[in-house]
Amino acid sequence: MSTLRGQQGHRGQTQFVGVERDTVNAQEFQTFYQENLSLIYRFVYSKVGNREEAEDLTSQIFIKAVRGVDTERGELSMQKWLFQVARTTIADYWRSYYRISVSSLEELLDAGWEGPANAEETVFNVGPTERVQRILQALPEHYREVLHCRFLLNLSIRDTALKMGLSEANIKVLQFRALKRAADMEKVVAETP
């Protein structure tokens, strides 16, 4: 399999000996990959919150998408297919940490585990970052501040406590409630254009 490709040094000038039939598709794939990698990665990151798992799940998603492309994709566009795989992969990931038995994947998705919604929404980068900003704007001052310190500024609990003039114990309560409120607001905020 890799013997043919082994002859090429770099993508680019070198001719794809023997695989010319696939060349166009190879380039298409590369472009497709580059366009969607960030999208998927940021989406996954916003679900797991750390790089290592974000990379791992992103890999899983792309590999699953490629493996299933001929058997499971049906008539979906490549991008839709990719997003669908992303959604189910994340859903599986969360399901393992979710006590309430989830009778169906749909239920889980309804509960908010939806993927990168559609191209329209992501136009002009309404991704996770934008959603965070919108939620922050809608939160009461002290909730906004604690989340800003802990997440956007990446401050430790101690520094956050200093900055806000509260005890660390206070901050722990505050950030919990802030996230809880943020979750309650998310849907409202996200649906407001």
């Binding site: 010319e20 060349t23 166009v24 298409e28 798992e53 590999i63 996230l179």
Partner: protein, 286 residues
């Protein structure tokens, strides 16, 4: 939802533990037994993490390694061939053993498309197809427009001459996101140009900054001049293959500026596999 009186002291500690692990760059998982209310809190924590300074983009090493892995996968032959029309009506190859996954990927009805990033990399594709005797290459290697010839187009009104100042004006129409701007490069005549806003690196949408008349890509810092060219001042962090932003046709009629974009129904069913018209297929049924 549960009231605050139902929160336990441990909830706060567990959350803090989780956050500290994440801040340290470690893998962290929410507690195994969560109520739905807790699950929402942790889901929100992960979301907010993605807005932290170090989240943002995949590492280049990772991007390359994964791409290599996928390339290998793509060399695998298709495992099963749909006999029915399920794979699309556009004449998928009928020789399963000789069809690599790669073929299945974009063959026939498969649409890459309509990600917001239309235009990214198209030039690259074209350039490299060049001298192959690929029967699939139906387009010419040079000067291929963003919108293929057989895609029906419409003229989308963006703004008016009267309103167009020196700023770039963004528009979004039928899977194309772009900017209209006055081209000041030739002061002797007034020219209005339009270009795709999808960065030719990885397709993020570039932002216009009027103070230095430059398009900035929020993802990896690519910069483009007001006419969509490569901004040589910044060096663009050594991306050699960066291309100018693809142009779109414009016209002015009765003071209104129009941009030529694919018609809403442009499904380009006539094109064969590999044609770039797939780029313009819409993914959203409205």
């Amino acid at each position: 939802m549960s009231g605050e009186d139902q929160e336990r002291f441990e909830d706060y500690l567990e959350l803090e533990q989780y956050l500290e692990e994440l801040q340290a760059g470690h893998i962290a998982h929410p507690p195994a037994e969560m109520t739905p209310a807790q699950a929402r809190v942790y889901r929100m924590a992960a979301l907010f993490r993605s807005a932290s300074p170090e989240a943002s983009e995949p590492r280049p090493e990772f991007a390359q390694a994964l791409q290599a892995k996928l390339e290998q996968e793509l060399q695998q032959p298709v495992t099963a061939v749909q006999s029915s029309g399920k794979q699309g009506k556009q004449g998928k190859q009928k020789q399963p053993s000789r069809v690599s996954r790669r073929r299945a990927l974009f063959a026939g009805g498969a649409a890459v498309a309509a990600s917001l990033a239309i235009g990214a990399g198209i030039d690259r594709v074209i350039e490299q197809v060049g001298s192959n005797n690929a029967s699939t290459a139906t387009y010419t290697p040079t000067d291929t427009p963003l919108i293929a010839a057989d895609v029906p187009t419409i003229w989308h009104p963006v703004t008016t001459l009267a309103k167009l100042g020196n700023d770039a004006v963004p528009f979004s129409a039928n899977a194309i996101v772009g900017y209209v701007i006055r081209d000041n490069s030739d002061p002797t005549k007034e020219t209005i140009i339009a270009m795709s806003a999808a960065c030719t690196h990885m397709g993020c949408i570039v932002n216009w900054q009027n103070s230095d008349r430059t398009f900035y890509c929020p993802c990896h810092g690519s910069t483009f001049t007001a006419s969509g060219g490569i901004d040589t001042n910044t060096g663009n962090w050594g991306v050699h293959y960066l291309r100018p932003l693809p142009r779109l046709n414009t016209k002015v009629e009765n003071g209104t500026i129009y941009v030529e974009v694919p018609a809403p129904s442009a499904t380009s069913s006539s094109s064969g596999a590999g044609g770039q018209t797939v780029w313009l297929r819409k993914t959203n049924q409205k």
